[in-house]
Every structure is written in C-alpha cells, then in structure tokens.
C-alpha cells in the first residue's frame, strides 16, 4: 500500500532537479555561465573529487568514494551529503531525527561526468554514523592484503638467460590470494567484506607486463626447461650488459583484489591493490651454455 502511494507521488514529482555537472553537456539546470563552455572533461563522477583510500566502482569504472562537494558514495552513481542547516522537512514516518538526517543525494547519469540529479534525501545515521561504504573501507583497513610472495625461476639469487622460460608465481595464502573476510559496524549497521585476488600484473622490468589471472605454478626442478603452464614469460634481452655486467631486472608484482561488501541494505565492490618486488639477472644464452 505504502509502496503504491510512494510510486504515485514519484510520478507527480518528476522531473526532479537535474543539474549538469560542468562538462556534462546539459547545462539547462546549471546557472553558472561557464557550464556551457567547458565541454566534456572536468567534473563528474570519476573525473574529480578525492578517492580516499580504496576506490569505488560503478558500471565497471573506478570512481571516487568521496566527493568534496557531493559527499560519500552510496552506490548507483550517487553521493549523499548531510545538510547543515537542515531544510524544514518533516521526519519521515518511522524515522528518528536523533539517528538520521536530511541531506542531498546527487546522482550522476554516467561515469566520468554527465548530468547530476539532486534531491533532498533522508539518511539513517547520516548525521551520526558512517555510510556503508565508509564501513566497508574500515573493514578493509582491518585486513592485510599482502603483495605476492614472489616465486620466480630462475631464482633471484641465480641467473637466467635470454630465451629461456621464466616461471612466475606467488605462494597461495589467504593474505596473498584470499579469501579474506572482515566486518565493521557503526550507527546500527554492520558491513561485511570478502576479498579475493583477481589477477597479478607482473611488470618484468624490461618494459613488458604479464597478466596472470591465477597465482601461477611453482617451479619444480623436475620441470626442466619447460614453460610455466599458467604464468610464463621469456626475456628477449639480457639485464647484464657490458656497461652493467651484473645488471638486474626489477620484477614488480601488483595484485588486484575484488572486495565485495554488503550491509545496511546496500552492496558494492572495492578494488584495492597490493604490491611486491624482486629482481632477476638475465644473461646471454651462450653464457649459460658454456
């Protein structure tokens, strides 16, 4: 019954206030004359603001979790910010003004900019507690996402050679590949997160990258000169040169994580990264075979 009433009310109140973000194209609701000048680029979700800590995503794109003007990200391209002073609006039925507040929800029409629809919106705990996204970030801060415990063949202390297979892997532990879970509570809601690694981007130090969506396969001496079945690489140039006889390639492993969170009636994804490094010496093949 209530839902039907609300739906009817919504129908009568459309359109809501739609303001164009600078650069968002539509400036019909934006009084600043410069709005019609900037064109695309500038402002907008993902185009500005400060991405505090770990990023948020919307439609597969990274966007700031907080916007200095529009507040905290609450999902679906929308931000919410409490209003001080409060507008003269009645407290919604069933809500407690001691534990909630009126603010403004600003919703972008697309990642990277676009028109912004702004409406007054009530938020439980808005004045006194963190948002679910903020709780998710708190929970994320409590777990330790480790960089890869790098395994590489040839071993860092040894020497490989141009044209020979290089094996890349990480020791698999909850800290290096997941899953890890944690929770954080505040303002009467609890948010739970689950973190899993999705890929490791190996920067090989020679200008090339290897992307592996698995932790790799640990090398065993019995494998001989076969290539890794899961995360292989072959250097095309030596790290040691006449000028630098003991030159080494710095190998950087960046682990990309997917952190699903849910709680407070919302859910979302955070995408932090972790990183670790090692180095390898790669010589000419004839040096190895002599």
């Amino acid at each position: 019954m209530l839902a039907a009433v609300l739906a009817t009310a919504l129908a009568f109140l459309v359109p809501t206030a739609t303001f164009a973000a600078p650069g968002g194209g539509n400036c019909d609701q934006n009084p600043d004359p410069s709005c019609i000048t900037w064109g695309s680029g500038g402002g907008g979700a993902g185009g500005g603001g400060s991405a505090g800590g770990h990023g948020c995503t919307w439609r597969g794109q990274a966007i700031p979790c907080t916007d200095v003007d529009y507040g905290s990200y609450i999902g679906d391209g929308c931000y919410w910010k409490v209003l001080v002073p409060q507008p003269v609006l009645p407290t919604p039925p069933g809500k407690n003004p001691a534990t909630g507040a009126w603010g403004v929800t600003a919703c972008y029409s697309a990642p990277g900019g676009g028109a912004v629809t702004q409406v007054y919106a009530w938020m439980d705990n808005g004045a006194v507690g963190p948002t679910p996204v903020q709780l998710a970030q708190q929970a994320l801060a409590r777990i330790h996402l480790l960089g890869a415990q790098i395994g590489v063949a040839p071993q860092p202390g040894g020497a490989g050679a141009v044209g020979l297979p290089v094996w890349l892997w990480t020791a698999v532990t909850p800290g290096t590949w997941g899953p890890l879970t944690a929770s954080a509570s505040g303002g009467g809601i609890t948010v739970t997160i689950t973190a899993k690694a999705t890929r490791i981007v190996w920067d090989m130090g020679d200008g090339h990258q290897v992307v592996c969506t698995n932790p790799g396969t640990p090398y065993q001496p019995g494998y001989g000169l076969t290539a890794s079945p899961t995360c292989p690489y072959t250097y095309a140039a030596p790290s040691s040169t006449t000028a630098h006889p003991h030159g080494r390639y710095t190998v950087t492993a960046t682990t990309f994580w997917r952190v699903d969170w849910s709680g407070g009636g919302q859910s979302g994804v955070l995408n932090p990264t972790s990183r670790s490094q090692t180095s390898v010496e790669i010589g000419e093949i004839q040096v190895v075979t002599q």
Binding site: L6, F19, P31, D76, L83, V116, V119, M123
Partner: protein
C-alpha cells in the same frame, strides 16, 4: 536498494512551472524595464497592492527570499571572480542542492585555472510563495544580465575559447527554501538561456 530512496519523493526540489498550480500566492507581477529594484525591500508588498489581503507571513517570506536571492547572486559572482569554492559568503545565502552544485562549479573553475569577470546583474521580475510546501518555498523569476561577462584564464587574463554568451540577458527561475535555523536559502536556480529579457 538505498536506505534513503523511499523518502526522496517527499522533498524533491521542484523547479518546474507545474509548481505554479499549487502556489498559494503570487506576490509580484512586474514586467518590462520599469521594474522595482530587486533589492528594494518594499518591492513585494508594493507590487502586491492589487491584493488587499496580503498574509504577513507571505510578505516576510518573500522579502527574505528576495534578499537571499540577491545575496546569492552577488556572492556567487564574487566567488567566481576568484574561483573560490570555499568563499564563506556562499553558505550565507545558498543551501540544499544549489550549495553543492555551486561549490562544484567553482571548484571546476579553479581546476581550469579560470575566473569569471564582469559585473553580472539580476532583476527580480516576480515571485510566488508556498508556505505549506515541504520544504516551504519561494519561487523567484528574474532577468539576469551577463552583458560584460568574461571567462578568462587567471594566469594571463586571456579569454577562454568559446566562452562568449549567445544570449547575455535571459530569464531564470530560482527556488528558495526555508531551513531549520529560520533562514531562507537559495536551493536551486534554473537558467532559461533561450529566453531573452
């Protein structure tokens, strides 16, 4: 999905002309060049003379709302001249959705290294009041004049390309809401850039 969505419709900032159907009282109906100055505190009451039963609350709301609107217009112009989103004068006259939008606009100006120069003017041409709305609202019609508007880069004062306005004088509709501390603050401002005045 979101906790607040169920209550959004209770307080949507309405900027459509359809609002006029529910407006309780039309205070002014000035048109043309012989308008009362927007800052004239006696303007609304004087222009409402054809209606002998002016609600004192309506007149006071109108006067406060027009003062807020003129304050907002001046404060924004001053802030835009220095591209300062943190200008404290903004929060004296702006609230609700327009505050975050204004600060966002000014931050965008700052990020572009640009400022808005000139001496923009506005003249209130009419207003309507609905004190029973949630939130209570005064809607102001005005004519804004950006004849000497210049968008320039702050570093060398050179004009930003494609920043000249095709229509320098056009109408606008501002929404002024009542806030819990008793102030009327400008919460929305819709330009009608295709309607010269």
């Amino acid at each position: 999905m979101h906790r607040n969505r169920g209550y959004r419709q209770r307080a949507v900032v309405i900027l459509t002309l359809g609002t006029a159907l529910t407006l309780a009282f039309t205070v002014t109906a000035c048109r043309g060049k012989d308008l009362a100055p927007a800052s004239d505190p006696t303007g609304p009451a004087r222009s409402a003379s054809p209606t002998p039963t002016v609600d004192p609350g309506v007149a006071a709301a109108t006067q406060a709302a027009i003062a807020a609107y003129n304050g907002y217009f001046s404060a924004y112009a001053a802030s835009a001249a220095t591209a300062n989103p943190d200008d404290p004068s903004l929060v004296r006259f702006i609230g609700g959705p327009l505050l975050s939008l204004s600060q966002h606009n000014l931050r965008n100006l700052k990020d572009h290294g640009a400022v808005e120069l000139g001496n923009p003017k506005t003249t209130v041409t009419g207003s309507t009041v609905n004190l029973s709305a949630s939130p209570p609202v005064v809607t102001i019609e005005a004519c804004v004049d950006y004849s000497d508007y210049r968008l320039v880069y702050a570093s060398n004062q050179s004009p930003v390309p494609n920043s000249a306005l095709k229509v320098p004088r056009y109408t606008t509709t501002a929404t002024i809401n009542l806030f819990a501390d008793g102030r009327w603050l400008v919460a929305g401002d819709t330009p009608h850039r295709d309607t010269p005045c």
